[in-house]
């Protein structure tokens, strides 16, 4: 019995793998485990390969995933071919013996590149290209325990048990992997029922799934009669949230008082707006709060209408990804010029251009810092995990309103789509700060320069009138080309950079995990946080190398002082940037702000998340002086 396990459940997109992932997460959560799940899928609706990579722990909530898995549960042959290498020695393969004779080169959905790699690998291994030969190989050479089930037989049996017509029964096909997982891990039935109930809200569906699960369990046990893989959880949760990154951001927005969100559909941002729309009306006292969620004609309309709503006094945002943000750049500049607190929730995906639209990246940091022509201050923050994402989605509304600047909240596809068990947030610590708001009064000046860089803000519809323009303007908001007014008004805006730097707590913007006298410093931001912390832990368990991790959460304003101090402390030691990109953009941002050049890096740009084992290996190489730059490639 293991304290924690990693496993993959895979099958064609649209075949129910997505549901399996959600149901399993609920089930493990119900049983008190800590769960983290990465969901990988093609830019495709049906037919291409998709999978969920799980890590489930009885001790804690995992912060990152591993490449090597204890279990590979395949709905189809493609899953076996695609992932066989990630199975640990001694792991378990669950597959459908009904497709044992399927050959990899007869599967059209496998991409050419993988197909030719497989051809080579199988040739090298002397395999004939069938699932069966691969399973045999795994069994004999890799010590893998192969659980071959005949899925059609399972369905046949289930259809009898449940008195369902064959075509009805076959709709439960994708529950087989789920059942195999619960059986092998030893998850109790009540947890599974709970999960199905939560997912489908229909006792009949639950009942039938439980029936199917029993059929599967019996058949699995016929071949695999060992104790269940996973120890009971010792974490001691009372309740948890099962949430994706998209979900927590939507929740944060609701809690933080967002009342207008405009969006144009795009992966991986759209689910957030979908969640928001689902919870767009809720009771507060004896009234209803409503959040207008508008699907616009494009991203230009999304950002500009959100700005309009912000001018009318509403907390307003849009959520998008790279291509959408690229279209919002002009609108962002207008908000900068007019000191409008509008929020862009930005989920990074694989670029450039359409890139890998359903995969992750961290390649848009420099872009967000300098997007739009001309100069104006902005808030740019990035969240490293679900908890930060929740809080940041609230805090960015506070900061943008307080300083009257636009704000960009960076996230990525990894976080957006990964499911986890999260401790429910402490709401009482949260705050809502709307900055200096006024109803106006005589001689109201929207861009009053007499009160410092932040002028009291009245909303359209208040007692006074006001003017806005994207042109340079005077205190009233009318166009002015006067050179002296230009200097004053421009400076009024720009000195907010200093103001924000001074006022926003350093410990919000950056945090050092570990000690200043560690041997190695990892530096990262966003979704490398989890993997960095786990690597740090593993190294500290190893004992030879001590490692610290500098986590950046704020980029504008940038915590230059703190970062420079840490880098100074690590001068002469190994300082390694970690990023899902080619350029390790954070290094450039640091150089620009501090003059420190970070010359070592571990990067990954396959669109798949960094995995603990590969980062560890890469880091060791760097520490050993074998290399200064490691490009990671694991995961399909």
């Amino acid at each position: 019995m293991l304290e924690e396990i990693s496993f993959i459940v895979g099958g064609p997109q649209g075949s129910g793998i997505e549901t399996s992932a959600v149901v399993l997460t609920y089930a493990f959560a119900r049983a008190g485990y800590g769960v983290l799940v990465d969901r990988e899928y093609f830019s495709n609706i049906k037919g291409r390969h998709s999978y969920a990579l799980f890590r489930v722990s009885s001790k804690r909530v995992p912060k990152a995933l591993k490449y090597l898995t204890n279990m590979l549960v395949a709905l189809d042959a493609e899953t076996v071919f695609t992932h066989y290498k990630s199975l640990k020695d001694g792991g378990i393969l669950v597959y459908d013996v009904g497709i044992s004779l399927k050959k990899f080169d007869a599967i059209p959905s496998i991409e050419d590149e993988l197909r030719s790699r497989l051809a080579k690998e199988f040739k090298d291994l002397g395999l004939d290209g069938t699932v069966e030969s691969l399973a045999n190989y795994l069994r004999s050479r890799k010590n893998v325990f192969v659980v071959g089930l005949d899925y059609s037989k399972v369905i046949e049996e289930f259809s009898k048990e449940a008195s369902l017509k064959p075509h009805q029964a076959s709709m439960y096909l994708s529950s087989i992997p789920t059942a195999a997982v619960t059986t092998l891990t030893g998850l109790r039935e009540s947890a599974l029922s709970f999960a199905y109930m939560r997912r489908f809200n229909d006792p009949k569906v639950v009942e039938e799934n439980i029936k199917l699960s029993k059929v599967v369990a019996n058949r699995v046990r016929r071949v695999y009669d060992f104790p269940p893989l996973l120890k009971n959880s010792e974490i001691g949760f009372n309740e948890v949230l099962v949430v994706s990154g998209n979900d927590v951001v939507a929740m944060g927005k609701v809690v933080g008082g967002l009342r207008y969100q405009a969006y144009y559909p795009i992966t991986p941002a759209a689910d957030e707006s979908f969640t928001l729309e689902t919870y767009s009306r809720f009771k507060v006292g004896d009234e209803y709060a409503t959040v207008v969620v508008l699907q616009t004609e494009d991203e230009i309309a999304a950002i500009t209408s959100a700005i309009g709503a912000a001018l009318a006094g509403v907390r307003a945002a849009t959520a998008t990804s790279g291509p959408g943000f690229s279209l919002m750049v002009e609108g962002l500049g207008w908000a900068g010029m007019n000191e409008v607190p509008v929020v862009i929730t930005y989920y990074q995906r694989g670029g450039p251009s359409t890139g890998l639209p359903t995969r992750g990246s961290q390649t848009d940091l420099l872009f967000t810092l300098f997007a739009s022509h001309g100069e104006f201050p902005r808030i740019v923050i990035a969240s490293g995990d679900h908890e930060e994402a929740f809080k940041d989605s609230i805090e960015i509304m506070n900061l943008t309103e307080k300083y009257q600047v636009p704000g960009i909240h960076l996230l990525d596809k990894f976080l957006a789509n990964s499911l986890m068990t999260l401790t429910p947030p402490e709401l009482s610590e949260l705050r809502v700060d709307r900055g200096v708001v006024t109803e106006g009064g005589d001689n109201y000046l929207r861009f009053d320069m007499s009160k410092g860089p932040v002028s009291p803000r009245a909303f359209l519809g208040s007692n006074v009138i006001m003017y806005y323009t994207g042109d340079e303007h005077n205190e009233v908001g009318h166009i002015s080309e006067d050179p002296i007014n230009r200097i004053n008004m421009y400076t009024k805006r720009m000195v907010k950079l200093e103001l924000m730097s001074k006022e926003i707590p350093e410990d919000f913007l950056v945090r050092l995990y570990g000690d200043l006298d560690a041997d190695v410093l990892l530096i990262g931001w966003g979704y490398v946080k989890g993997v960095a912390l786990e690597v740090m832990d593993e190294l500290s368990r190893g004992g030879d190398i001590s490692c610290a991790y500098l986590h950046l959460r704020g980029f504008s304003p940038f915590p230059s002082r703190f970062v420079a101090e840490v880098l100074k402390a690590f001068e002469g030691k190994n300082v390694v940037a970690l990023e899902h990109s080619y350029l390790a953009q954070l290094s450039k941002v640091i150089a620009m702000n501090t003059g420190f050049m970070i010359r070592k890096e571990i990067v990954k740009f396959t669109g798949r998340p960094m995995l603990v084992d590969e980062v560890l290996q890469a880091l060791i190489k760097i520490v050993e002086g074998v290399s200064n730059r490691e490009v990671l490639s694991l995961g399909e």
């Binding site: 409503t290 519809g461 003017y467």
Partner: protein, 315 residues
């Protein structure tokens, strides 16, 4: 006129060319606002970029001078956040039908209660006279190096095809007419579009005051653009009449209201329906979002709203 005490002139010096049609437009706006006794703080004039884009600065009401082509989405956000505001959009023909036409079409589909007044001068005024989308094929105005090789759009037809429920044309030099049309548009519930023929004295030496004076005529008595019963057949017929009318140009150019359909629900109403009456009662701009500096949602309320995400661990 004069019945209201408010002066709708902002007092700013107007820097349009002497003789520009825009003076007539802004004069009509002053009068229409005055006659409807609109309160300046409850009106938002939104504009794009161009000579026309300066309009809000000359009006004593809230003014939002936005980006080229994007006045409509800005206006959309303002209106949806606070549907109690009167939102009026002033845009150039290049702005609205060139770079901005996706938004023009989208507003029609939404029938949001926003009024769009297009300053139709056939050219890009502020960038010194390039062809706008209302300039006809083969026409060579002053600043063009060659005759126009793109054809003109029929704005009235496009507005009707897009779903506007109030579609009209007026003429900048007929302030009285324009004022009346404006008032009707302001009183209409839903997306309104007015194509205002606006001579650009500096760059358009083809569609001049003389050109228009010779051709423009007012749609009169016999012409009934209003959908009165709301049956599908009636709507279709009124639309078709309007489309046929919109094709007149060469010799005679009709001005007046082409089409009004008061039966179609507005976007605000649709939202209100979705929110079961909670939206118009207390729209976003009127909701308070915090209590003593804290979010409104307590832990319990949070759990109630997001119960689907909560899992009680089974011990």
């Amino acid at each position: 006129m004069g019945s209201s005490q408010v002066n709708y002139r902002s007092g700013l010096w107007i820097d349009w060319c002497p003789g520009c049609g825009n003076y007539g437009i802004v004069a009509a706006v002053y009068q229409a606002f005055a006659e409807l006794k609109l309160r300046p703080n409850e009106v938002v004039v939104v504009s794009g970029i161009g000579c026309s884009g300066k309009t809000p600065h000359f009006i004593n009401a809230n003014g939002v001078h936005t980006l080229h082509g994007r006045a409509i989405p800005f206006a959309t956000g303002i209106k949806l956040a606070n549907p109690h505001l009167k939102v009026v959009v002033h845009v150039g023909d290049g702005d609205l039908l060139g770079i901005g036409s996706a938004h023009f079409v989208a507003l029609g589909r939404r029938n949001l209660d926003v009024k769009v007044i297009m300053h139709d001068n056939g050219v890009y005024g502020l960038t010194k006279g390039q062809a706008s989308p209302t300039l006809k094929l083969g026409v060579k105005t002053k600043a063009l190096p060659n005759a126009n090789i793109q054809d003109a759009i029929n704005p009235i037809a496009l507005a009707i095809a897009s779903g506007y429920t109030f579609v009209a044309r007026s003429y900048a030099m007929n302030t009285q007419h324009l004022k009346e049309v404006l008032k009707k548009a302001l009183e209409h519930k839903g997306a309104a579009f007015i194509d205002v023929l606006q001579p650009c004295v500096t760059f358009n030496d083809v569609y001049t005051v003389e050109y228009y004076n010779k051709r423009v005529y007012v749609l009169e008595e016999g012409w009934d653009p209003v959908v009165r019963e709301g049956t599908e057949d009636e709507v279709r017929n009124k639309m078709l009449n309007a489309l046929i009318k919109s094709m007149e140009w060469e010799d005679r150019i009709p001005i007046g209201v082409f089409y009004i359909n008061p039966f179609k629900s507005t976007l605000e109403e649709r939202l209100d329906q979705r929110f079961e009456g909670a939206y118009l009662k207390k729209p976003p701009a009127k909701q308070s979002i915090s209590y003593e500096g804290k979010p409104l949602l307590s832990r319990d309320m949070f759990k109630e709203v997001f119960s689907r995400f909560f899992v009680e661990v089974e011990k």
